[in-house]
């Protein structure tokens, strides 16, 4: 089958790739010690490890044992020490995922030493027994999920400390990369070393070959899937075609279903810089939360945004459905805003006519959202002007203290289904003068204390209610304005068995290995 992406994946190297374009194909060709259950949902299961890890009472030591007899796609046996080598590559190559593994004991020394082959003291691996022991500097409640990220996929111990995109390394997975032509195409073929017994719960690939072509025009991709010239498009369908596609191929369409939407682990929000006027005044922040018209903003996403009020998205532990309804302190997010109350609060705060610069990048639909948000701020009495900057420098610009960005567009797509992966964005400890990600500069003692304590709790199920309370607290404090969760789509040609073979993983999304043709 032939599928399309609008851009070459950032990397075809699991240690480096940090994009949907890379993660989807990578997930089928590489395997970490832990992975997600393949039938959908966000539950973890053992990947290359025999069992889920045994965690010490202090939460700082993880013990795992490697599966026996597993081979990479080139026939090389998988060894326990390959895990340490793979983590070294993540750290040494300065991968975007490296910070997740800096919690491992000795990672900082390894990084400062600058020697690729040096030892990471916190990882002990025994190739004979397959035992792997990981020691952490401090407990990390999300570490199981960190172990399940593509970054931690095992690669052969002789994989060079360099970007392997042009010649992807062998891995363990239903598929293997057999051809890559940068910016044109890459091909996945069924991995002959991978059987149904290799990793129980991870089935072998249904299709022999999945060829991905790079087609920059999303409207062209969409038309080609409609015409059955392409079997799948990785991008969301072009906004121009959504009406036609829903009418014809949607769940209630006139033809056989080929299109569905799914909500991602994502939150779209506006940051409100609590260190800068007028948003250092809680009344102004509350007014903005009251005045933002969430259903209106959803229209700018061509219906692919579910309006919401919660910072944590649906399917995330700690998410509360009630908060996305009448329980929202700023009004039901599916209803129009309370402009009168918002205006009153702006008046009370003496902020009428205060000049506000609203930041956004130039990647669609952000410019439209930024302008609509600025208009909504004007409606409640502020004097807002949108400022659109290039997407390549957006985060550096607004994350720089000297810019003094007051408010603007942000979103976050979760790397794994753990609330800590969202709440670091409002952790006072993460505020920094440059490359700041806590754009609202939230430094609330209660949030900081809770995050510290919850970060030590290895079992998320024991503390779900505390995460829920923290989520509610954050929303009530109006430190930011969450307004919805992004929906993505799966759209396939008519020869694909859409009804039975398109499970969605909340983190990785589409699982190529489970796709099948109608006649199979």
């Amino acid at each position: 089958m032939t599928i399309a992406q609008a851009a070459q994946p950032d990397f075809l190297d699991p240690a480096l790739s940090y994009s949907i374009h890379g993660w989807e194909p990578m997930w089928t060709a590489y395997m970490p010690l832990l992975t997600y259950k393949r039938e959908g949902g966000s539950e973890l299961m053992p990947g290359l490890a025999e069992e889920m890890p045994e965690v010490s009472a202090d939460g700082k030591t993880y013990e795992l044992t490697l599966r026996k007899g597993v081979k990479y796609s080139d026939g090389t046996p998988v060894k326990a020490s390959d895990f340490e080598h793979s983590i070294k590559r993540v750290l040494n190559l300065e991968s975007g995922g490296a910070p997740y593994y800096e919690v491992i004991e000795g990672a900082d020394k390894y990084l400062s030493g600058g020697k690729p082959d040096a030892d990471i003291s916190g990882i002990e691996a025994n190739d004979k027994t397959g035992e792997i022991t990981i020691k952490l500097v401090e407990p990390d409640s999300a570490f199981n999920f960190v172990l399940a990220m593509n970054f931690a996929s095992l690669l052969p111990g002789d994989t060079p400390f360099e970007n392997m995109t042009n010649d992807p390394a062998p891995g363990v997975g239903p598929y293997m990369f057999t051809k890559t032509v940068p910016n044109r195409e890459f091909v996945l073929e069924r991995n002959p070393e991978f059987t149904a017994d290799t990793i129980p719960g991870v089935p072998v690939a249904n299709l022999d070959t999945v060829k991905t072509v790079i087609t920059t025009s999303v409207p062209r991709q969409t038309q080609e899937v409609i015409d059955n010239k392409l079997d799948f498009m990785q991008e969301p369908v072009a906004a121009d075609f959504i009406g036609e596609i829903l009418d014809r191929f949607g769940p209630d369409g006139s033809e056989e279903q080929r299109y569905k939407e799914f909500t991602t682990l994502s939150t779209y929000y506006f940051f409100l810089n609590t260190k800068t006027p007028p948003f250092d005044d809680p009344k102004v922040r509350e007014a903005v939360n009251l005045g933002v018209d969430k259903p209106a903003l959803a229209r700018l996403f061509a219906g692919t945004l579910e309006p919401g009020c919660s910072f944590l998205p649906p399917e995330m532990p700690g998410y509360s459905e009630e908060l996305d309804g009448e329980g929202c302190p700023w009004g039901d997010p599916s209803q129009p805003p309370d402009l009168e109350r918002a205006k009153q609060l702006i008046k009370e705060a003496g902020a009428e006519g205060t000049e506000v610069t609203v930041w956004g990048d130039n990647i669609d639909p952000t410019p439209k959202v930024t302008q609509a948000y600025a208009d909504q701020l004007n409606q409640i009495g502020l004097d807002a002007t949108p400022k659109i900057v290039d997407g390549g420098v957006y985060f550096q610009t607004i994350g720089n203290e000297s810019t003094g960005a007051q408010t603007g567009f942000l979103n976050w797509f979760g790397d794994f289904p753990h609330p800590a992966n969202f709440f670091f964005l409002v952790d006072g400890a993460t505020i920094q003068p440059t490359n700041n990600q806590n754009m609202s500069n939230v430094d609330d003692p209660h949030i900081n204390k809770e995050l510290k304590e919850l970060g030590r709790e290895p079992d998320i199920n024991q503390v779900t209610d505390r995460w829920e309370a923290l989520n509610e607290y954050l929303v009530e404090k109006a430190y930011l304005v969450p307004y919805g969760y992004r929906k993505l789509s799966t759209f396939m040609s008519e020869r694909m068995n859409f009804a039975d073979c398109t499970p969605i993983n909340p983190v990785i999304y589409n699982d190529y290995s489970q796709w099948c043709l109608k006649d199979e």
Partner: protein
């Protein structure tokens, strides 16, 4: 990049500024009329050029009347979003932007006469306000080009030597870049950080940024022919006579040479404005020109591209007005050129 304009005297272009000479071969012209009156008489005979000029003036007038339409007819502003609003069409309330983000098309009534854009903004209002921005950028940039290009061209041509080398070198550097590429590079850089020239600070989203960029980019296209003319004129008898009378160089340049290049400027002005409008649209389309929320025809076309199938009015309407403006200006400019000197061939090609 197409063929470029050559300097005066070289193949492909000819500037003739001595109007009586130019008109000598026309038996229909009455002797005794000044060159400018002769030009006016000829232009009045060119109905096609005059009609184009009238079309352009109508567009300008409509754009100048934008606040009247916005306040008294459409009752909205170019920035006001109406994402959740409804408008009555045939007595039925219709969403300005539907749940899938498709905006309403032309209603041919007071509100949303030409439809709405993706943000639910009135296209007619934005079109008129956008026209003000596009035309202003085009006109001011063209005047800027003429002001700077004229001075540089005159100085380089009259003084020759080192001044000529330096000015020509700078012009060659600008000339060497493809127009749109240079515009996008400058526009992108300046849109982020703005521009600081001594005590003057220009914000990145100011209209002054595209004006400045376009004005600078087109300088060589004017300065080089002016320089060529100045080179020729400095050898003429009347200039020598002025020098012999003890006039200073600068006075000779501005009182003797400058009036003799005036007709070139008159020919260039409409063509430069048309090209500046077009370049502004190109830069804005690519995100390096007029910055949101300011509308311009280029930004409007860019915003409409992704809905070209479901809402074609988003691109067709500003595109049509852009074509009408540029075409009418070009036709009028050609008419002026023909009236001034039927033998001259002036084009700005890049």
């Amino acid at each position: 990049m197409g063929a470029r304009q050559e300097e005066a005297g070289s193949e492909g272009i000819e500037f003739t500024l001595d109007a009586p000479d130019a008109l000598a071969g026309d038996p229909a012209e009455r002797p005794g009329l000044s060159p400018w009156r002769l030009t006016g008489r000829r232009l009045r005979r060119d109905k096609f050029a005059l009609a184009a000029g009238v079309v352009f003036l109508l567009i300008v007038a409509a754009c100048l009347a934008a606040p009247l339409w916005a306040n008294y007819v459409a009752e909205t502003t170019p920035e006001a979003n109406h994402l959740s609003d409804k408008v009555l069409i045939d007595g039925k309330p219709t969403e300005v932007v539907d749940l899938r983000g498709t905006p309403i098309g032309p209603t041919w009534s007071d509100h949303f006469f030409l439809g709405a854009d993706g943000n639910g903004r009135d296209i007619m209002v934005r079109l008129l306000y956008g026209g003000r921005n596009s035309l202003m950028v085009g006109l001011v940039a063209a005047l800027g080009t003429i002001a700077i290009g004229l001075v540089l061209g005159l100085l380089a041509g009259y003084y020759r030597g080192r001044a000529d080398s330096v000015i020509r070198g700078v012009l060659d550097v600008i000339w060497a870049f493809p127009v749109v590429l240079l515009g996008v590079a400058l526009g992108t850089a300046l849109a982020l950080g703005g521009l600081q020239i001594g005590p003057v600070t220009i914000e990145g989203d100011s209209l002054a940024i595209p004006i400045l960029i376009i004005a600078v980019i087109y300088i060589p296209y004017l300065a080089r022919p002016v320089r060529g003319q100045a080179l020729a004129l400095r050898e003429r008898e009347f200039v020598e006579a002025a020098r012999a009378q003890g006039m200073g160089s600068l006075r000779v340049v501005f009182s003797e040479v400058l009036p003799n290049v005036a007709s070139t400027l008159v020919v260039f002005l409409p063509l430069l404005v048309a090209n500046a409008i077009l370049l502004e649209a190109s830069l804005s389309f690519l995100g390096a020109g007029v910055q949101p929320p300011n509308p311009s025809w280029g930004t409007m076309i860019a915003e409409g591209v992704e809905r070209i199938s479901s809402a074609p009015h988003l691109t067709i309407v500003p595109g049509a007005l852009l074509v009408a403006s540029v075409l009418s200006l070009n036709i009028f400019g050609e008419g002026v050129r023909d009236a001034l000197d039927p033998r001259a061939k002036v084009r700005i090609e890049h």
